[in-house]
C-alpha cells in the first residue's frame, strides 16, 4: 500500500471524486492558481479547469452561501475555508441555510455540501488562528462533523463526505497535513459515523479524534511501559457519534478519559460524558475525566501555548487518576 501524507491523501480524495462526478466542484480562497493555502488542492486547477476549481474573493459568508445555493439545485460543492477560524464569518450560511434547508422545506430541498479546511491549534499562531470549533457545529441538528486523524481516514472520510447527501463540516488537523501513513489506492471509503479502535486495551478507554489521536497513542505507549493497558478509540466523526463502539469499549475497560483540543465548557467531550453516563452507567468504575485545551484564548508565547494545549503527559496523568493511581 502506498505511503502518503495526510495532505496528499486529501488531494487524492478530491481528485478521485471530481473525476468520478462532474457535479463535484471545489471553491474557496486560493484553491486554484495558488494551489491551496495548505496545498491540499495542488494540481486540481490544471486537471479540472477554472469552472470546477474556483478561486473566490475573501468573502467567507458569500462563498459559503454560493456553495449552499449551488447544492440546493443539485451540485455537490466542496467549500474550502482557509482555516475554520475564518468560517466564523460564514456561520450564518452553515447554520441557518445549510443545516436546516431540508427540514424547513419538509424534505424538498437538500444541501449536499462539504465545508472543509484546517482546524485546531498549530504553533504560535495566536488567539484568532488557534481554535477548535467542532462542538459548536456538532451542536447543530442537520450537520455532520467529521474529523479524520490519519491519511487513510482522511481520504476515505472525505470521499464519503462528498458523496453524502447532507451538509458536512469536515475538519482537517492543521498539524496533521505532513503526517504520513499507508493509504489504499482508488475506491477507499470510510463510513461516516463509525469509530475506529486504533489500539486495543483493557484497563481504560481513551476517546480522541483528529490531532488528539496521536497524543493518545503516545500516552498509551507510555502507559504500556508502566504496565497499564489503554484502548485508543478514534471517534472519527463527532456527529453522529458511534455510541456502539464507545459503549462497547467502556463495557470492557470500565474507565474513560476523553482527549479533545477544544475548550472544556460544553465541549464535544461533555456530550460524550453525557452519553456514557446515560448509556452504560453501571459499567463505570470511576468518574470520566476530560483532557481539554485550557479555558483561555490561545496565548502566543510558546511556553504558555504549551501549557494551554493537551499533551500525552496530561493524558497519562488523567488515566492514572481514573485508575486511582494518583
Amino acid at each position: 500500500m502506498p505511503t502518503l501524507t495526510y495532505r496528499d491523501a486529501l488531494n487524492q480524495a478530491l481528485r478521485e471524486e471530481m473525476a468520478r462526478d462532474p457535479d463535484v466542484f471545489l471553491m474557496g480562497e486560493e484553491v486554484g492558481v495558488y494551489q491551496g493555502a495548505y496545498k491540499v488542492s495542488r494540481g486540481l486547477l490544471e486537471e479540472f479547469g477554472p469552472t470546477r476549481v474556483v478561486d473566490t474573493p475573501i468573502t467567507e459568508l458569500g462563498f459559503a452561501g454560493v456553495g449552499v445555493g449551488a447544492a440546493m439545485v443539485g451540485l455537490r460543492p466542496i467549500i474550502e475555508f482557509m482555516t475554520w477560524n475564518f468560517a466564523l464569518l460564514a456561520i450564518d450560511q452553515i447554520v441557518n441555510s445549510a443545516a436546516k434547508m431540508r427540514y424547513m422545506s419538509n424534505g424538498q430541498v437538500g444541501v449536499p455540501i462539504v465545508f472543509r479546511g484546517p482546524a485546531g491549534a498549530a504553533l504560535q499562531l495566536g488567539a484568532q488562528h488557534s481554535q477548535s470549533f467542532e462542538a459548536m457545529y456538532a451542536h447543530i441538528p442537520g450537520l455532520k462533523v467529521v474529523m479524520p486523524a490519519t491519511p487513510a481516514d482522511a481520504k476515505g472520510l472525505l470521499k464519503s463526505a462528498i458523496r453524502d447527501d447532507d451538509p458536512i463540516v469536515f475538519m482537517e488537523g492543521e498539524m496533521l497535513y505532513n503526517t504520513k501513513g499507508e493509504v489504499p489506492d482508488g475506491e477507499h471509503l470510510v463510513p461516516i459515523g463509525v469509530a475506529d479502535i486504533k489500539r486495543a486495551g483493557n484497563q481504560v478507554s481513551l476517546f480522541c479524534y483528529s490531532k488528539t489521536v496521536s497524543l493518545a497513542l503516545k500516552a498509551a505507549e507510555q502507559l504500556d511501559a508502566e504496565g497499564i493497558s489503554a484502548e485508543v478509540i478514534d471517534l472519527r466523526t463527532i456527529r453522529p457519534l458511534d455510541l456502539e463502539t464507545v459503549f462497547g469499549s467502556v463495557s470492557r475497560t470500565h474507565r474513560a478519559v476523553i482527549v479533545e483540543e477544544g475548550w472544556p465548557f460544553a465541549g464535544a467531550g461533555a456530550q460524550l460524558v453525557d452519553e456514557i453516563q446515560r448509556g452504560v452507567f453501571d459499567e463505570l468504575d470511576a468518574p470520566i475525566l476530560r483532557v481539554t485545551g485550557a479555558d483561555v484564548p490561545m496565548p502566543y508565547n510558546k511556553h504558555l501555548e504549551k501549557a494551554a494545549k493537551v499533551s500525552p503527559e496530561k493524558v497519562v496523568l488523567a488515566v492514572k487518576r481514573v485508575l486511582y493511581l494518583e
Binding site: G62, V66, V68, G69, G74, M101, N106, D166, G193, G279
Partner: protein, 354 residues
Amino acid sequence: MATAKTARKADTRLAERYRALLRQMQLIRRFEEKAGEAYSLGKIGGFCHLYIGQEAVAVGCLSQLRPDDYITATYREHGHALARGLTPRAVMAELFGKATGCSGGKGGSMHLFDASRGFLGGHGIVGGHIPLTAGIGFAIKYREQDQVSVCFFGEAAINNGAFHEALNMAGIWKLPCIFICENNRYGMGTALDRATATWNISERAASYDMAREVVDGQDLLEVMAAMERAVVRARRPAAPTLLEIRTYRFVGHSMSDPIHGHYRTKEEVEAHRKRDPIILWGDRLKADGLIDDAGIEALDAEVKAAVLDAFEFAEQSPDPEPEALWDHVYAPTGEASGIRRQASPAALPPTPDA
C-alpha cells in the same frame, strides 16, 4: 386580412393576460387580508409579514419568468409564492402550520417552499438568501443552462455583508442572477435615509459592474418591462442585474406593528395609498376597455371565494403527525444515525424504580 385577425387574436390574448395579472394581484391582496384576520384569531402563529401595497412587484417580476427558473425570497413572501403559482390552499395551510402546507407545516409563514416550481424558500435572516441566489446562478452557469436565478429582498438588506459579497461574485463571474431590491422605504421601523449612507440603492450596482434600473413598483407595466430587460440580460450569455423597485408597504412591518405611529405618519401612508398598484392597474385596464367595473367586481368575488376556500381548507387540514418532528433533519440515508432523540422521554433509560 389574416394579419389583422392574428393581431386581434394576439390582442385578445394580451387582454386575458393583463386581466390575469389583475386577478393575481387582487388574490394576493385578499389573501393577505384574510391572513391578517386569521392571525388575529390566533390561527396563525409566530411572525406574519404581509405584502399589502407591494403586489405589483412580485406579480410583475414573476410574470416574466419561465417555469424552470429559480426564486428565493424573504420572510415577506406570501405574495411571491402565490404569484409563482403555489395554490392559496398550500400557502394558507402552511401559515396555519398544517400537514397540507407547502412546507408540511414545518416552515411557517417565513419558510414557504415549492421545489417543483423553483420556489426555493422564504428565508428569515435579512440578506442571508442573497448568496444562495448567486449560488443557484453559479449552478446554472456551471451546467451551461439558460435559466435565471431571481432574488427578492428589502432595501434594509443592502447594508448587509451578504448583499455585497453575493453581488460582487455575481459581477465577477457574470452569473445569470436578478437581484430585486423591493425598496419599501423602511427596514422594520428604520427609514432608508437613517440606515444607508448613499440612499440611491441602484447605484451600488456600479461597484459590481452590473446593470441596474430604478423602477416604479406601483406601476405593474413598468415592473414587467424592467424585469423583461433583466431576464434578457440574464439568459445566455449571462449578466446580472440589480433592480431597485420603489414601492411602499401599506401595512405594518409585521402583525404587531401598527400601520403608522412612531416611524411614519398617517398622512404619509395615506399619500402612498393613493398609488395603490391594484387600483392603478385596474384603472388602466378600464381606460383601455379591457375590463369594466362589473368585471372587476366579478374578479374580486372570485378571488375572495378562492381565499375563503383556502382558509377553510387550512382550518380543516390535519396537523403534521407527531413523528414528523423527526423527519428531514437528515437525508433518508442519514436519519438513523444523525438525530439525537434525547428530547423524547422514551429515549431515556428507565428510572431505577421503573
